[in-house]
Subunit: 264 residues, 3 copies
């Protein structure tokens, strides 16, 4: 494992601040995962708002505390709405997260995500295939929305991407890596059942947006990854399958406290 671990005290402090502040997270995410993403944010203590219409998105991004842009199932009007929201977020200095779902596998999303990458996200979060694709690696191998590469394979690409765009890049996988190009943090843990529930990765992007309200981008991304892994572990224990796991994950995000984080 490459990279150091964010001190648990920092994760605890960030989670406490998040729950006190209950940041309003403007989510523009794909239709498959909107409900689950909102429930993850509510469970952890944030205040989600799914505002995706081109008529609303620019206005709302100007009042939200953070913005999530997830390019899963986007259409041309949704891409326009995302451009408007990102422009508002930039004007207001609001942190925003780019989740390049299935980039590399689908041309239109690759085009939109590459364009948005140039607009200055605080954090880019993807799986190894998506990060390799965004970084221009020819070897990027994705299967639909799933990665065929491991997160370790994408560390160099993540660092290069972070350097080139002045942002934090998060690669999700068996170990999550988070880098600003110079410092690399690692978050091990979690559970394989996380890949058997749709939207867990997408929800992690939303958590990163929420944490980016209460800490700088690199520790925020690592705190979000840590909180998700720490909730997933007890949720996966003695569970019958992915249905119960998804329910337990929301329960554990709600219950998670300093003792549970320290006891991992």
């Amino acid at each position: 494992m490459t990279g150091s671990v964010l001190p648990v005290e920092r994760v605890v402090a960030d989670l406490t601040k998040l729950r006190e502040r209950a940041p309003l997270v403007h989510c523009m995410t794909n239709v498959v995962v909107t409900g689950f993403t909102a429930n993850v944010l509510l469970a952890v203590g944030a205040s989600p708002a799914m505002v995706e219409a081109v008529e609303d998105a620019g206005e709302f991004a100007g009042v939200a505390d953070a913005l999530l842009i997830n390019v899963g199932p986007i259409t041309t009007p949704m891409a326009d709405a995302m451009r408007g929201a990102v422009a508002s977020a930039r004007d207001c200095g609001t942190p925003w997260v780019l989740d390049p779902v299935a980039v590399g596998a689908i041309a239109f999303r690759t085009k939109v995500a590459t364009e948005l990458l140039g607009a200055g996200p605080a954090i880019v979060r993807g799986n190894a295939s998506e990060i390799l694709s965004l970084a221009g690696a020819d070897s990027a191998a994705g299967k639909g929305v799933d990665s065929l590469a491991s997160s370790t394979d994408a560390i160099d690409a993540a660092r290069a991407l972070a350097d080139a765009h002045g942002c934090v890049v998060a690669v999700s996988g068996e170990v999550d890596y988070l880098t600003d190009g110079t410092t690399t943090l690692a978050v091990p843990g979690g559970d394989p059942l996380m890949t058997r529930v749709t939207g867990v990765g997408c929800a992690l992007g939303a958590l990163m947006a929420a944490f980016a309200v209460v800490d700088a981008a690199l520790p925020a991304a690592a705190a979000a990854s840590t909180v998700l892994a720490a909730a997933a572990e007890p949720a996966a224990r003695n569970v019958a399958g992915p249905g119960s796991f998804a329910v337990g994950l929301l329960d554990e995000l709600y219950r998670l406290d300093a003792a549970a984080l320290a006891g991992r």
Copy 2:
């Protein structure tokens, strides 16, 4: 607490009628909550149909027993489809419910909801901020989709709105208030976990539409609020968090009977 309580016998009678009739509830609601709303209606014994395309909505509203219009994440084409559905419902004398999600916080929704309010809904259901905004109160304070005001603060606005538009206005909160401008009913109970699951308020609007098929608008709105609160209370008991609570809420809506309603 202002207002009287709907007699439990009336709630039981309405619930029995609803389950016998299994009303077809045409839902035009936001993408975040469609699945949960459908599951709430199925659990209680209604027959939901999510028909949202401009190509279908007018036609379908003409055959449904009730219509729900929820202005969460709407776009211009969805607003057109809603206008068509409302026109059909009016022509057929079908009761319809308006849920002004995030009105006041977002300009486009405020415009559409205000316009639809003029088209004669049977019931308008919102949180305190939304009702205050619709009533034109300058003090309306919303944070995204969440209210920063309490339902008690919005009783006068609700009465004025009900008087002005000849409809029932329902304000959701720690206590739900339901008024036709003259009579005000109150439904206490429920559980704070209802605010940690996305779409519980939206589902209440759908329940009100279903109950409006079997009773007049004011008792229907109160019966729906009572049924939701009565299901939420056992669902919240000894529960680990919002994931389990959402599952239990569906179970309890399905199991709810006269004894459980009388025993509260």
Copy 3:
């Protein structure tokens, strides 16, 4: 009960092959059920991808292993995207499933589904009302998305439809029937709670697409029906209601093995 039962050894072999191959199933399905459909496919061991934009769908159908077309809440642009995806699937010889949700009840969907039926699906899956409508029966009786006819009533219409279009037709109901016009298979079992959770029928269409990657259309459709029924039965045992049942259904799809299939 008309029709014979697919040997359990064939179901076990198909399920084993599906889990080894983890087929990439391109789903174009309705917004109400996208999350649940993805979770059903993930639980059973397939790899779902919800790709619905007209900008992406044709391209993606050319790389997926199977395609699901569900005409629930479609709009004109979605219908165009579906046409593009179906054309790609045909070019590549990729099996695709047509789910004619609410056909007969809604004119626009009837038009689109009838057109797509002519484009050569491997399998058409619907409830009795939908299959009767597609076959042109005047007696078709649907109530929104629910059937008022029993699956047995639609066997002759299913056979005629299968003959006319050279495809397999699956009629869902208390007993599922699957026919290529000559041979008819029957899958009894399951549980009435399947009708109290939104999207169970839609998810069955998705399972049929996944199984069509590893077997011919008729046994694939029967294997999918059998797997769903076999998971539903233990999920319904001692359950408090439809909330818990939906969770348990995902768990049981994940756990289902040869012993459980043989022991039914």
